[in-house]
Amino acid sequence: MWGESVLDADGSVHGWCWCPDRPRDRQVVEVMINDRIASSVLATRFREDLTARGVGDGYHGFVVPLTKSLAQAGPGCVLSVRQQASGEIFWRSTVGEFGLPSRLAQRTARAAEACEIAARSDLLNGGRGLPLGLQFAAALGSVGRGLARASRRGGGPAKSAAQVRAELACDGALRGPVCIAKPEISVIFDAGGHAPATIRAISAAAAVLQKLHAELIVFDSGQNALNALLPSLFPDVRYIAGYGKLSAVLRGEAGMAARGPALIFLNNDGADFGQGLLELAGPAWNRHDIVISALMAEKVMRLDPRVAGNVDFHLATRRSGARLGIARRDFLNWADVLPRETALAMRALGAGGKVTGWREPAAADDEKVSACSP
């Protein structure tokens, strides 16, 4: 069941309710004040925006005037809207002088995240080269620390920069990948939601990356505020921030920005990927072929069994989170299907190429792997 609702300034509640399983059904919606049903309405009003959004035929809106009922209930009452059939409440708000702004929880979470970044802003490399939002956070943090010092209340960030670095490193100093002028491989992965583990994993893989003459590109969709520290901790890692963007979109952008003739996309579950990457980038991969995960390779074979002869499987000994290995030229040529592995593999097979299904040893937390690689 899908639905939205808004309380208008004149005391009317308007919204829509629709069940994708039964797209032609009209839903009965109940509006409750302090958990007592104040009104019920058949959601049948037409709204043009609903058709544009793919919500059935658009005849799923409702309007309920509650001016009198709200006046009787007084300020601070709780207004809820639910689908009658399932009893599922899809909107709730507090009305009147104690009213809460809409989406308060999300706003609070976002503000907390910004504060977390701001509190560590001395790690943000002075804000240089960072997205505008982070520059603002850095500036905000500096102002906050200045005010705290001025008021002599001992405020400022809860932990010093050195403490944060020490926490992240745990077992010694962080070592970042070095700058490679002409990389032979571009390794691309999602900063994900495991910031401390990711930072340690990058540090651990630095030597392997240098050995492979590989550049590292990390894209960050804002899952963890600490990821914002990556550019200052690893100045030679290329960092692409796109808060709120889909990982798939950022993955495509990172691929376009890559400089190496071969691209390797890795899933990131916070685990070390260095040794697995060494194996992946080794002789097992002919750079003209495409490497995809074994799961995807099986999918490709199901889609077109005739290509089975051109699909090989490789049993890797170490985990790298391999998602896609592809020549940059092919990646750019087939930019219209970015970054769908199966589509790229089908193109390669259609062009007479080969595909390798990369099968890796199972991890204890495999579910987590798939969860962080949409």
Partner: protein, 171 residues
């Protein structure tokens, strides 16, 4: 446009969409009631409303059980009184009982409320039946008032209808 049609007796019972329920708001217009409950004197239903067309318009309402208490009939809509000096007089006959009269000015959203006694309902077809006749003698043709091309004779734009329980304390 005037339209009239006869209603098969069992169409009330078989067709759930015709039924009203106490407290449930139904919308006029294409998505919900459309032409189904309308008898005569109506313009072509539009997306979320229907105008009367002429000086009398009627529709039927049917509920599964005969109400035992007084109900509040609420009609949401917009009167058609586009100029100073014009107004809309509306009289509602509920199963022949003259239950309300309103004189409306302007073209703002309006909620008409009228109390319906339980005795006004007819026990028919296994439920409660009522024919509502709206008398709108001051209906106007937009073509006469504003020079528009609209030749319907309209007085009130019907948007939604609710039969609600009376507020607490009312008998």
């Amino acid at each position: 446009m005037h339209s009239s049609k006869s209603l098969a007796a069992d169409s009330f019972i078989d067709n759930e969409i015709w039924t009203f329920r106490i407290g449930l708001t139904r919308a006029f217009g294409l998505g919900d009631l459309s032409t189904q409950a309308l008898l005569s004197g109506w313009a072509v239903p539009e997306e979320n409303h229907v105008w009367n067309d002429g000086i009398d318009a009627s529709f039927v309402v049917w509920m599964k059980t005969l109400p035992s208490r007084k109900l509040l009939m609420k009609i949401e809509g917009v009167p058609y009184a586009p100029q100073d000096g014009t107004h809309q007089d509306i009289t509602l006959y509920f199963n022949g009982y003259r239950v309300a009269f309103w004189r409306l000015y302007g073209m703002d959203k309006t909620f008409l409320e009228v109390e319906i006694e339980p005795e006004y309902w007819l026990a028919r077809l296994g439920g409660a039946y009522a024919k509502c006749v709206w008398h709108l003698p001051t209906s106007l043709r937009p073509s006469d008032v504003t020079g528009a091309d609209d030749k319907r004779q309209i007085g009130f734009c019907f948007q939604a209808l609710t039969f609600a329980e009376m507020p607490d304390g009312a008998f």
